[in-house]
Amino acid sequence: MPVVELKGVKKEYMLGSTKVEALRGVDLTIEKGEFLAVAGPSGSGKSTMLNMFGCIDVPTSGTVRIDGTDVAGLDDRELTRYRREKIGFIFQSFNLVPVLDVYENIEFPLLLKKSLSKKEREKIVMRFVEEVGLSDRLRNKPSELSGGQRQRVAIARALVSNPLIILADEPTANLDSATGTKIVELMRQINDIEKTTFIFSTHDAHIMSEARRLVKILDGKIVEA
């Protein structure tokens, strides 16, 4: 069963009095364990498509199935739970909680789950802290970290809840090219080890080349899958 299935997805919204067609009938299937890049120029619709994958936006028409479930039928609370359990997010601006340190930021999604003991949480957090190479930065606040280190924290945070999919919206856009490459390599390495599906958007040709599958989007339509 595919982890993501989009059928005839259209997304329209109003920008002032202008109707914008962000997605114009997208069909796409993504299998478990894929390492996939969504590429396209600014305004092409790649972020909108990622929002559909992440259950944080709903289509105007068409069907979005995540792990076999049509997310259109879920209410806000169910969508939140769905995201908590199935999806990990990595953001372009890292989006760490500024008042929490590295350990606490990574632990955050586990605390929201409420089902794990402190010991269990610690075990999981430490595993991913080591995996992203931040064992010596546990008690540092995000403001005390470099961009690359922050994105590593974000990757670990996305991974701790053992999600089905990790969505990364232009994860290297705010990093220099060397750090960006390292981050993508780290993501691919984790994809190899954990078999977690990675979907990331980018318009950086070098980062695209690291992807195992490339989906190109232009003017709201997939032009290459």
Binding site: S47, L50, N51, G54, I56, D57, D76, R77, T80, R81, R83, R84, E85, G88, F89, F91, Q92, S93, N95, V97, P98, V99, L100, E104, F108, P109, L111, L112, K113, R157, A158, S161, D169, E170, A173
Partner: protein, 465 residues
């Protein structure tokens, strides 16, 4: 520590300056609630005690013919006399709750003194009192020169120091203790004059704003000025003949022709002063029984009386402390309204600044209730900590004033409690009220910012680039 509280405390620490301002306002508001409430209550208690002890007693009885309430300044239109004062006094004497009572009247007249062979008329406003009963209700009026009416003297008038200084200012002379004077009073039949003396000079201990203007005259002098006199007893022969006549009209008129019974030697008749009292101030053993005692007295319509409790009888004095209380509550409410507005505004700024952070939390699985809990925890943690500071400051201030009371400027103190410091009566409930008020204001001020925060969608995290 729960995650919400951890986030709340660290966010407060991160925005120190802004939060310190709000904290200071909340602490001040809490101090105002606790200290202000206790101060207002203490003033109210002290005001009631002072009015009852030194001003009106627990209540004042006056004639049911009166159209006016008793007032310290009722001398301008003196109240009508209490008609059957003996019966009223008997009723009071029979009540076990009554500690003491003092009949008295208010009036005005002239104290005439001789200076260098010339008569000088000095106006006087006075309470006509029976010295012993007045002292039993209000305590003796302390003189700084001469003596209190009736204590080893034949009565007379007592003049306040303020009044005496006014005499000097307006008439170029002062009265002296022990000096012989003539009291002049206007009656229906003309002007009466009675020889008297200045018994003493006094400085009021309480309510100088009232008693600076009110002097004292003994009730016998007052009765003489206004012809409140009668015959103490009929001659024995006439009394016996009247008894023998047994209410037969013809027999009674026939006595006029009987030289043994009808010839009355006026020199043998004994005069008796009648009371001209217009009011009776009553002190109870327990002021809590006032309502019941008043109701019982009023139930006997034949006494011909009306009753004003201490609040009514003191004019606006009783309302001053109530007004102060209202002002403190109003000021506190105003401070809290300002605090609520500033706090709400700050939270909205916080929400705006933290849109991406909230969106991120929502994206990674935090429910709306979690976001709400973070903001409520933030509000409560900040405001309750600040409230604690306010409570401690209140406790310190109360402890500092607990010994000697709060000393206000004399003018204010005179109107509030008749003068002197206001003794502090601390209580626990204003502390509880302070905490509750802060909690309620915190939650109310958080409602709108929280509703804005919980409407932030995970999309805001994605759009934070």
């Amino acid at each position: 520590m729960p995650l919400t509280l951890k986030l709340a405390l660290r966010t407060i620490a991160r925005r120190k300056g802004r939060m310190a301002l709000i904290g200071a306002l909340v602490a001040f508001g809490t101090f105002l609630i606790v200290f202000g409430t206790i101060f207002a209550n203490s003033t109210s208690i002290a005001s009631k005690a002072a009015i009852i002890e030194k001003f009106t007693g627990d209540f004042i009885i006056y004639s049911d013919k009166s159209k006016e309430l008793p007032s310290p300044f009722a001398f301008q239109t003196p109240l009508p006399k209490i008609r059957d004062i003996e019966r009223v006094e008997a009723a009071l004497a029979a009540m076990p709750e009554v500690k003491a009572y003092a009949p008295y009247a208010q009036n005005y007249g002239i104290v005439q003194v001789e200076r260098e062979g010339r008569k000088v008329d000095l106006p006087i406003i006075y309470y006509a009192i029976e010295s012993a009963s007045y002292a039993s209700v209000f305590g003796e009026v302390k003189t700084y020169e001469g003596s209190y009416l009736g204590s080893g003297s034949a009565g007379g008038v007592m003049i306040s120091a303020f009044q005496n200084s006014e005499y000097e200012k307006n008439f170029g002379t002062k009265v002296r203790s022990g000096e012989s004077v003539t009291i002049l009073g206007v009656t229906e039949g003309g002007v009466n004059s009675v020889p008297s003396r200045i018994a003493g000079l006094f400085e009021p201990e309480r309510y100088s704003s009232v008693f600076n203007y009110i002097n004292f005259m003994d009730s016998q002098t007052f009765a003489s000025v206004y012809n409140y006199a009668g015959v103490a007893a009929l001659p024995a022969a006439l009394d016996a003949s009247l008894a023998a006549a047994e209410f037969d009209e013809d027999a009674i008129f026939a006595l006029a022709d009987d030289p043994g019974a009808g010839a009355i030697d006026l020199d043998l008749l004994e005069a008796e002063s009648l009371s001209g009292a217009t009011m009776i101030a009553v002190r109870l053993k327990d002021s809590g029984t006032a309502k019941d005692v008043i109701a019982r007295l009023e139930a006997d319509g034949s006494l011909g009386i009306k009753i004003a409790d201490w609040k009514e009888a003191s004019g606006f004095y009783a309302q001053i402390s109530a007004g102060l209380q209202a002002f403190i509550y109003f000021a506190t409410a105003l401070v809290f309204l300002v605090v609520a507005m500033i706090f709400m505004n700050t939270l909205i700024i916080n929400v705006t600044e933290r849109t991406a952070e909230i969106g991120t939390m929502r994206a990674i699985g935090a429910e709306r209730s979690f976001v709400r809990a973070v903001f409520v925890a933030e509000a409560l943690a900040l405001n309750l900590s600040a409230a604690l500071v306010g409570l401690i400051a209140s406790a310190i201030a109360l402890a500092a004033f607990s010994g000697g009371g709060i000393l206000l400027p004399d003018l204010i103190s005179q109107f509030l409690v008749g003068g002197g410091p206001i003794p502090i009566k601390a209580a626990a409930w204003p502390f509880v009220l302070g905490v509750l008020a802060v909690a309620v204001v915190s939650v109310l001020a958080t409602l709108y910012p929280v509703s804005v925060a919980t409407k932030i969608t995970p999309l805001k995290a994605m759009s934070d680039k």
